[in-house]
């Protein structure tokens, strides 16, 4: 056991790390920029909330480490919170002495106004005191029993989410009368979420969550006692309900929400394709966007009424061609790199992806692909006079094709080919010794995965009505890879969850797009350490996670060793 002094020292240094984080988010501009979104009118905005959460985190962390009684824990929280506050106070002092703005563009008077509660350098003691108070609150959270902490957390989270997205929710709940309007008027005022509404939301969610916690086993028990047919019926009902909700989403959410949903859908399509390559077959691919581009360009060239259009086909005729072209592209792409393994494969595919983009962009191929000007005038798809004119309509194309492709992926996963892919992912040499023809199996992975992405590209072309090579940069490939890993490698629902989190959520917070990749990067780093199996791990992995010790605990041994490697 460490000495008491050492342990207190660690509390302070832990608090200072949180203080550094607070200084970081301030200087990087998040506090001020996020301050624009008021969460609860007159109470708190998003920027201040961020600082508050950091303070709470400091207290929570400090109290959780190390034992001691209630008083000791609260004291640790107090100290850590004060240290966090001291970090911000240091920034305050520094900012009043030196002109930080020459270097840090966000070290503005407005920022110092926020941090110091409007008191400038005189606010230093106040900042430290506020930190201490928040730290104690954070520490107090550790002392609550789970049955209280859970519902409390749910209530707070719900309030924050509803406050954060109040504008969107108000649009969804628009109208003058009816249930939707009633709900809206109950919670919101036109300007946002008032304290009264926040309190209502908090209390309702708190109570609901507490009730659910106590009733869940009863409900589960009741369901499990029904005959299998009823159970199946219930499940079907749930599914239908979910489908119904998804179907009305664009109409309810409006243009902006539809646009976000279509993007999520496109990324889901690409995610399904890459998941097939990486998650199923273990072939790392950082040039995946190339297939997306090939699908888009094929549809563009075949349907465009503009300068570069070659056939003026309809969208529906062009899509199958796009699928076949990207399938063949997958074969051709896969052939030369059959022998390359591991990280080298990642880099080789990255190279391929970039080559395709640069070629599309170049003046050399401009006579065919339009160079940097791209291909314009790609017509919208239509069926019998109904035109899929915008995101609200195209959403349904995305939805149907995602569902179809997910279905295909699921069938493949459970087939002989799917098993061959997974065997190859686990151990290429042994897979070959099992009689699997690696060449066929690899090429099929590239081809089918490419075709899935090509489908996404085709819809993308129709959505934008024009194609620019700039849309197909490396960041897309990386985003897609990240989303399948965040969702859970090899897991189909994981792809949807991943694109909702990494594409949908940032899109909804579009006004903060300056910080999108910052948060995204931090999330990836944290995720890899906290939940490397993803948010929705593949079925087999999940089963084991429930049954056995966590994956991380298996360290060595004949088979386990390779599982790690």
């Amino acid at each position: 056991m460490r000495s008491d002094r050492g342990s207190w020292g660690r509390v302070i240094s832990g608090g200072l790390i949180f203080g550094a984080a607070a200084v970081f988010v301030s200087l990087v501009g998040m506090v001020e920029a996020l301050g624009v979104r008021v969460i609860v009118i007159g109470v708190i905005d998003f920027g201040r909330l961020l600082l508050l959460l950091i303070g709470l985190g400091a207290g929570y962390q400090a109290a959780r480490r190390g034992g001691g009684g209630v008083v000791i824990a609260l004291l640790r929280g107090l100290l850590a919170g004060a240290a966090t506050g001291a970090g911000l106070a240091a920034l305050l002092v520094l900012g009043s002495e030196v002109n930080l703005r020459g270097m840090f563009i966000n070290a503005s008077p407005a920022l110092f106004e926020i941090i110091s509660f409007g008191r400038g350098a005189a606010g230093v003691p106040l900042v430290v005191a506020a930190g201490a108070v928040v730290g104690v609150l954070g520490a107090a959270a550790t002392l609550l029993p789970g049955t209280v902490r859970g519902p409390l957390g749910a209530g707070v989270t719900a309030t924050i989410v509803i406050g954060l997205f109040q504008e969107l929710l108000q649009i969804i709940l628009q109208g003058e009368e009816g249930v939707r309007a009633a709900i809206r008027q109950l919670i919101f005022v036109p300007e946002g979420l008032p304290p009264r509404g926040a309190l209502e939301v908090f209390v309702v969610v708190l109570v609901a969550s507490a009730l659910w916690r106590s009733r869940r086993p009863v409900v589960r028990g009741w369901i499990s006692k029904r005959p299998p047919r009823t159970q199946r019926l219930l499940r079907l009902l749930g599914l239908l309900l979910a489908v119904a909700v998804v179907l009305v989403l664009p109409a309810a959410g409006g243009l902006f929400v539809s646009q976000v949903l279509v993007l999520v859908g496109l990324y889901t399509l690409m995610g399904l394709g890459l998941n097939l390559e990486v998650g199923f077959a273990g072939l790392l691919d950082l040039g995946f966007v190339a297939f997306f581009a090939i699908g888009a360009y094929t549809v563009g060239l075949l349907t465009s009424t503009g300068q570069y259009g070659v056939a003026h086909w309809s969208f529906w005729a062009a899509v199958p061609v796009a699928l076949v072209v990207s399938l063949i592209a997958g074969f051709l792409f896969g052939l030369p790199i059959l022998r390359i393994r591991g990280d080298y494969l990642a880099i080789a595919t990255l190279g391929f992806g970039e080559i395709i983009r640069l070629l599309a962009l170049s003046d050399a191929l401009r006579p065919w692909f339009g160079g940097s000007q791209g291909i314009l005038a790609v017509p919208k798809p239509n069926i019998g006079g109904f035109e899929f004119s915008g995101p609200m309509q195209i959403f349904y194309i995305t939805l149907v094709s995602s569902a179809f492709i997910a279905f295909v992926a699921a069938r493949l996963r459970d087939s002989r080919l799917g098993r061959a892919w997974m065997a190859m992912r686990e151990d290429e040499d042994v897979a070959e010794a099992m009689g699997i023809n690696l060449i066929n199996v690899k090429l099929l992975a590239y081809g089918i995965g490419g075709a899935f992405a090509g489908m996404g590209g085709a819809i993308f072309a129709a959505l934008l009505g024009s194609i620019f090579p700039h849309s197909f940069n490396l960041l897309i490939s990386i985003n897609v890879l990240a989303l399948i890993i965040v969702g859970g490698m090899g897991s189909l629902p994981g792809v949807v969850v991943g694109s909702l989190f990494l594409v949908g959520l940032p899109e909804l917070l579009r006004e903060f797009s300056d910080f999108r990749f910052l948060v995204y990067g931090a999330a990836l780093i944290i995720m890899m350490q906290v939940k490397p199996a993803g948010l929705w791990p593949a079925a087999a992995v999940r089963r084991e996670l429930l049954k056995e010790e966590p994956v991380g605990a298996v360290t060595e041994g004949p088979v386990a060793e390779r599982a790690e490697a």
Binding site: A553, E556, G557, P558, V559, A560, E561
Partner: protein
């Protein structure tokens, strides 16, 4: 107090229970042999002693000090040298660099020089090849280098994992002669060997491992005469 003492050591690879309560003692100045079939846990035992694996249960003591939570490089400092299975010399470093890496933890240039001379006296072949890249040495020379490298840390106890593996009989003889010399010069040796007869001729005592447990232990002569051992190795 024994130089090295393992007390009821349990080691797991994931769910696999590899060592099921091993207790071993090695006294100062001894040569102790560990015998057993592939997969019996001999290498695992050595790896646990030198800190590459952590016991889930049980203790490892070196001169009374518990070393089972220390990282490998600290355990080297405490006086445990380990020549791993398969030699694993640094193939792209020269012979001299390999030997100097063995002495990495030390800061006494004179002592290092002394030990370098001692290794060269034991293995004159290494001196001839001092600036050669180690990957180009023959199998026997690589084994000499692996042992020499472990000696450069001036360990109190030397853990040797299958020093005779893949070597011609003549070379095996020579290596074992050298091990005897090393021991008489004052280094304690814990030896894992498949070549049971060879091992038992230089060892004072031995342990026989079977599926992670100690099946037999005793004086070398007793083991040599033991019917079980004979049968295990001769199928007789």
């Amino acid at each position: 107090m024994a130089l090295l003492e393992l007390e009821n050591v349990h080691v797991y690879y994931g769910n696999i229970h590899a060592l099921k309560g091993i207790s071993i003692q090695v006294e100062e100045g001894e040569v102790v042999a560990m015998l057993g079939a592939n997969g019996a846990g001999k290498t695992t035992t050595l790896r646990t002693i030198s800190g590459l694996l952590r016991p889930r249960e049980g203790r490892v003591h070196l001169r009374g000090e518990s070393i089972d939570t220390m990282p490998p490089h600290v355990i080297v400092h405490k006086g445990v040298g380990h020549a791993p299975e398969g030699r694993r010399i640094f193939a792209r470093l020269t012979v001299e660099e390999n030997l100097m890496m063995g002495a990495y933890a030390r800061a006494d240039p004179h002592g290092i020089k002394e030990d370098l001379d001692r290794v060269f006296a034991l293995f004159p072949r290494l001196k001839e090849r001092i600036s050669q890249v180690a990957g180009t040495l023959s199998g026997g020379e690589q084994q000499m280098l692996a042992i020499g490298r472990a000696l450069m840390a001036r360990p109190r106890i030397l853990l040797l994992d299958e020093p005779s593996m893949g070597l011609a009989p003549v070379l095996v003889e020579q290596i074992f002669e050298t091990l005897k010399t090393i021991n008489t010069q004052g280094t304690t040796i814990l030896l894992v060997e498949q070549n049971a007869y060879m091992a038992l001729t230089i060892a004072a005592r031995g342990y026989v491992l079977q599926t992670g447990e100690i099946a037999l232990s005793g004086k070398a002569a007793e083991l040599q005469a033991n019917e079980e051992v004979r049968r295990a190795y001769l199928g007789g």
